[in-house]
Subunit: 344 residues, 2 copies
């Protein structure tokens, strides 16, 4: 094996001080970006490798942050992770990522792996059938911060980053009522997940406030994927009289519903006005464009990661210990799929 390259070799080669090299390699803000890049390139070229094992053993820190999501191939979750990665990389942390595939058992196994990898902190969006969160207790016992995002746990001593799903669904439903809808179908996912449970509440509250009756028959449970539209539309077409509003908890599924409603000869928004959720690309490409709730995935990732890192670096001591929930802004974006009245 060749002799290991040290920071002194790099400093000598570039004619800078070893301190500058050390700072650059640790991504210290005092070193200019340009100098950092020169040092990075020289370090790579010369084959320098910092001794992370020894350093970790000393500091008991890995600079790794674990992320567990239900599914990696979800357009919402991949935006969240992109936001997290940006913040983590800038702060000198790595992201270790795994997916629970919506399974409680796999989530337990993932948490176990993360714990053994000694991640400095954990960011989690829960699996659909996770009801207890005892599997996170070893982290809490050890003082390693766990932060939930989007699909959060209802518990006294943990922190969650989320949007106000009740309010968002309230606004969506209320908008349909203002467009003249009197019989509104709501399509949602597994209500064990806080996200869907809250949206159902928002839908109910909006009906209540406008004096419309809530009917169980108008609530359709679905796995909300792109194929689900056909089955949902079949159920809608069986309702007599036909509903005049449709609020779907996800844009891909809303697009699929619109497609199958059109195949049945239903005009959107004249016969049925439609609202989706997420502000996915698809909501802007389908005809008509879908009214939707802008759900800021990238920003959610940034906020969750910033809070975790601030906590780890002691910049905001206690913020996670004392904060139960961080709520991000969301907004209703009105487009053609629900615009029945000319004047908005």
């Amino acid at each position: 094996m060749e002799k290991e390259i040290t920071i002194y070799d790099i400093a000598k080669d570039l004619g800078v001080s070893p301190t500058t090299v050390s700072r650059a390699l640790n991504n210290h803000p005092a070193v200019k970006e340009k100098t950092k890049m020169r040092i990075f390139e020289a370090a790579l070229k010369m084959g320098y490798q910092s001794n992370v094992f020894a350093a970790n053993l000393r500091s008991k820190k890995t600079h790794n942050i674990g992320v567990i999501v239900p599914r990696l191939n979800s357009s919402f979750q991949s935006s969240v992770i992109a936001g997290m990665e940006k913040v983590a990389t800038d702060a000198g942390f790595n992201l270790i990522i795994s997916q629970s595939l919506e399974s409680y058992d796999k989530e337990i196994a993932n948490v176990h792996t993360m714990f053994n990898s000694r991640v400095d902190g954990l960011l989690v969006s829960l699996a659909a059938n996770t009801e207890k969160i005892d599997h996170f207790k070893p982290f809490m016992k050890k003082g390693t911060p766990v932060l939930f995002f989007d699909r959060i746990a209802e518990c006294e001593d943990c922190t969650g980053v989320t949007i106000d799903n009740i309010q968002a669904a309230y606004k969506a439903t209320n908008h349909l009522i203002e467009q003249g809808c009197k019989k509104i179908v709501h399509v949602l996912g597994n209500i064990k997940i806080n996200v869907y449970a809250d949206r159902l509440k928002g839908y109910k509250y909006a009906l209540l406030d406008k004096g419309l009756a809530f009917e169980d028959a108008l609530v359709i449970y679905s796995d909300l994927n792109e194929e689900a539209g056909e089955a949902i539309v079949k159920k809608i077409m069986a309702l007599k009289p036909l509903p005049d509003g449709l609020f779907v908890s996800n844009d891909a599924c809303a697009a699929s519903c619109i497609r199958h409603l059109k195949l049945e000869g239903i005009k959107i928004p004249e016969d049925i006005a439609v609202v989706g959720f997420n502000n996915d690309v698809i909501s802007r490409l389908i005809e008509p464009n879908i009214t939707t709730v802008n759900y800021p995935g990238f920003e959610m990732g940034e906020v969750a990661m910033k809070n975790l890192i601030n906590h780890l670096e002691g910049q905001t001591i206690g913020i996670l210990t004392n904060t139960n929930k961080i709520t991000l802004r969301s907004e209703l974006i009105i487009r053609d799929s629900s615009k029945r009245k000319k004047e908005q």
Copy 2:
């Protein structure tokens, strides 16, 4: 601090042998799934944490695999990562993920971080403006395997996992010609990226084989995002006579083009037949459904990770050293956006 829990404590608690506990915690195939789960749960409940630092220092292995992609919030890349995660987790490896944001400089910084984190192997899809791959040399020098996927490097001593982009584009263009198209526009991304350079070749070869002239004016460069359709359609509408075929290197952008062509009163596929690329969800939701190339992201992730892990575990010694390219199957899926002839 409390006394550390050992595998002997867990073994005693569950009435199994310490060997079984050790094997289960290392995800050894000889232990039944059910027993593994029981041991995992007990380990978590008791707060057991394996001493990875010490173990890593001994074995010089981290069981971490680095992944660098251009963008995490891409539907193709998130499918690839989902496939990688599945294989890695099953084999007891963690995924450390970062994104280059299409920047060569950020890619160098990412590679530097991965090298210092002493990942056991690296999987990379290159940034748009990466031309040299010298920054990977320290890995190669050290014998740490680097495997490229999708956007691969042209080099003698590295391995890439990809589809045959020339052939896929050839089939797509040929299909349009068989539907009667005589003037076909091709929309693609930065041709510094092998993926687009190869598709341009496939498009040219198909024209050549059918005796159609290649015209520079019919090749439109774009960043292929969902907003790009408007500008592309403006260019198409300026061509006299109007083209009768359109082959777009990405489904979201093809959908955006279809939307803007329809706004111009163009009928799809009667006036212009359209083919996309990727088989994204959107290709199945837009009207008409888009003919596209099925680009198996999830499978690409699985194959890349399996090859890397087999190499690491010495099961297929030399496979990466001797393999230059692993080509996955892709297929043209014909849908309504290009079907001009009744009989297929």
